[in-house]
């Protein structure tokens, strides 16, 4: 793996599987009374948040703390310029404090990229503008795999094809409850991502990561909310959500910002909801096994009906829990923590 995680494109299939498998092992921690490992003891992780995002910040904070890292939260609302200090100066400050990893959330696309040029530690992109949010894609892939991929016992029982070169994590071992789905990608899973793709860092990262893992991704959105050059992406495109639903294993709904309406991306929230919102009637068109995802925070009644969000198909709460374990895996692998003690004893 590279030293930083800035784009889902940085991850090879083997890298992505290693993260998912590591997360699978760590997930078992969550069921134990003491949820902490000493792996990153003495290491410092800085959460550098330039945007309000309680859920992502808390998720990274919990992940780092469960690995025993020291966590510094640095919140700077608004742009760096508004704050009076440049991103570079903030980076140099963090560098002087000896940050081993910087988790950055920033309103400007490319901010994580820039930061990586100014600090020696690892940079984790926790969402940069309308560019990417790779750990969201990883936790989404993890959630899909848990829900939809048949359980595998891991390398010892023979992996599914196409994952060559992967090295099993040193702590890969037995399982407590649910069977680990190690070394399994998402080949053939059909994922439909719905909504404001143009401004969505979640969509960009998911298109890249899910296609790397073998899923067949379709974007369903009004043409105004798709990038003009979307044809160059590794996915299909549809303007008609209804025709996509019966062939979807996963429907991922994106948050729609109200302010897009004033910029004429669509005529009204009601019309958007009518054409692209996931209500119970649309949900009924999904295959029985299909799941409904949302990165949160949701606009209930806009892109997703409350009944759908709260249904058994919905993985929205699971995604939050999976976020912590996936981010633990990323921190562990990027920081090359000390050897894991066996998670299961």
């Amino acid at each position: 793996m590279k030293r930083h995680l800035i784009s889902a494109a940085d991850l090879s299939r083997a890298d992505a599987l290693l993260i998912l498998d590591t997360a699978e092992e760590l997930a078992q921690l969550a069921d134990r009374p003491i949820k902490k490992l000493p792996t990153l003891r003495g290491r410092t992780v800085v959460n550098l948040f330039y945007e309000d995002s309680t859920r992502t910040r808390i998720s990274f904070e919990a992940a780092a703390k469960r690995l025993s890292a020291d966590v510094i939260n640095f919140s700077a609302k608004g742009s760096s310029v508004a704050k009076g200090e440049s991103l570079k100066d903030t980076a140099l400050t963090l560098e002087a404090m000896g940050a081993d990893a910087v988790v950055i959330r920033h309103p400007a696309s490319g901010a994580a990229h820039r930061l990586a040029g100014w600090v020696r530690g690892s940079v984790l992109n926790a969402g940069d503008g309308t560019h990417e949010h790779p750990t969201q894609a990883l936790l989404d892939a993890f959630t899909i795999r848990r829900r939809l991929m048949p359980g595998h016992r891991g390398p010892r029982r023979g992996p599914r094809g196409g994952t060559g070169g992967r090295v099993a994590p040193p702590f890969a071992g037995g399982s407590g409850g649910s069977p680990p789905r190690v070394n399994t990608a998402l080949d053939g899973i059909r994922v439909t991502i719905v909504g404001d793709v143009l401004h969505s860092r979640v969509a960009r990262s998911n298109v890249l990561l899910l296609s790397t893992l073998g899923a067949e991704v379709t974007l369903a959105a009004p043409p105004t909310l798709l990038p003009l050059a979307v044809g160059s992406w590794p996915c299909a495109v549809s303007y008609d959500l209804d025709s996509e639903l019966p062939k979807s294993d996963v429907v991922m709904m994106l948050r729609v910002q109200q302010e897009r309406m004033s910029a004429a991306y669509f005529p009204s929230v009601r019309e958007y909801s009518r054409r692209y919102g996931l209500d119970t009637a649309r949900m009924a068109r999904l295959p029985d096994h299909a799941i409904v995802m949302h990165p949160g925070p949701m606009n209930r009644g806009v892109e997703i009906a409350a009944e759908v969000a709260d249904s058994s198909r919905s993985t929205i709460v699971e995604q939050v829990a999976n976020g912590v374990t996936t981010r633990m895996a990323v921190l562990y692998l990027l920081l090359g923590g000390t050897e894991f003690p066996a998670v299961t004893e």
């Binding site: 696309s109 490319g110 990229h113 820039r114 309308t130 990038p227 003009l228 992406w233």
Partner: protein
Amino acid sequence: MTASGPATTGGRGTAPDRWLIRGVTVAGYGGREGGTADILLSGGSIAAIETGLNHSGAHVLDADGLIALPGLVDLHTHLREPGREDAETVETGTAAAALGGYTAVHAMANTDPVADTAGVVEQVWRLGRAAGHCDVQPVGAVTAGLAGVRLAELGTMADSAARVRVFSDDGRCVADPLLMRRALEYVKAFDGVIAQHAQEPRLTEGAQVNEGEMSASLGLAGWPAVAEEAIIARDCLLAAHVGSALHICHVSTAGSAEIIRWAKSKGWPVTAEVTPHHLLLTDELASGYDPVFKVNPPLRTSADVVELRRALADGTIDCVATDHAPHPVEAKESEWAEAAFGMTGLETALRVVQEAMVDTGLLDWAGVADRMSIRPATIGRLAGHGIPLEAGAPANLTLYDPASPPAAVASAGASKSRNTPFAGLNLPGRVVATFLRGTPTVLDGKLA
């Protein structure tokens, strides 16, 4: 020339204003290919161009292997003074110009205060005369404060000591079609030209990079080609309608070139420029989010670069203009969206043109003289510049060594700013000397 640089001799007894440039290849001399001759400069003019000239009493510059071009003229320079002397001053900007082979630059109006009155344009003009590295011809703003609401006092600027003929709100588009029509009409009274920064503002709100594959994957707001082309099409029609001279700044798309080609085929009074960076670089350079590649209009695709080169070669695009836009370090050491638009270009323009146009066989050196000196001077209504090298012409000339092996461009030069997108790139050629009215401003690649 010798490897160590031009051999200048002289000293006691030589007239300080007489230079003999020996054995230089003069672009366009004795045929399209150019021929080798000696050039004698005396009293600010070219006294003679012949072979075997007598050099008694003159400084001698052995120019074997060098090419002589009429002094380069830039139609589009941001000197930043007054207002942003931290980025550039007239002194440092004109020094950079001379080192790039320029003998005249047009100073854009978006200073602080804006060059929208006779007072400001005369100040810039005087600063240029004091600096002495090259002539500075101020450009006046089209609208007061570049606000796009009412016309600046164009006639007063034209009548001032700065004799302004080129008017531009560059940095912003004169987007109001009625105001643009009025401006075009009004400057006919004093043979003016409106230089349009073609950018439809509504189509480019928050725009950061060329709209296409790169903007899609980088998650940066797209700057669509149509936002430039729509304004160019509109303004060509307006220029034809009122019979006034229109100049298009920094043409950046294949579609723009096609529209200008069409307008010219109608005989309409339209001229256009292209920047060195749009002749060489593409939007893929934005992939690392380094704002040194952030410029307005943005870097486009390789298909655009190919068409821009073709349009410059066939004369559809009249000239190369640098859009030299210096910025202090902190304006570029930031997130992409926060960073300033613009690149420096004066010191590298001729080398880029050799790389993009000459070494590719698209333009010969006579063509370079036309696109970088003669035509821009004509468009700018600039007296004493852009005159082909011949006896009696002003002694404004540039000596260039095209055979100088490709060398990496340094980020630091005479410009106060370092935002060159070419830093580290291997470019051929070297400006050896620049003469302004017979006096060297640059010798052996250094300020004289």
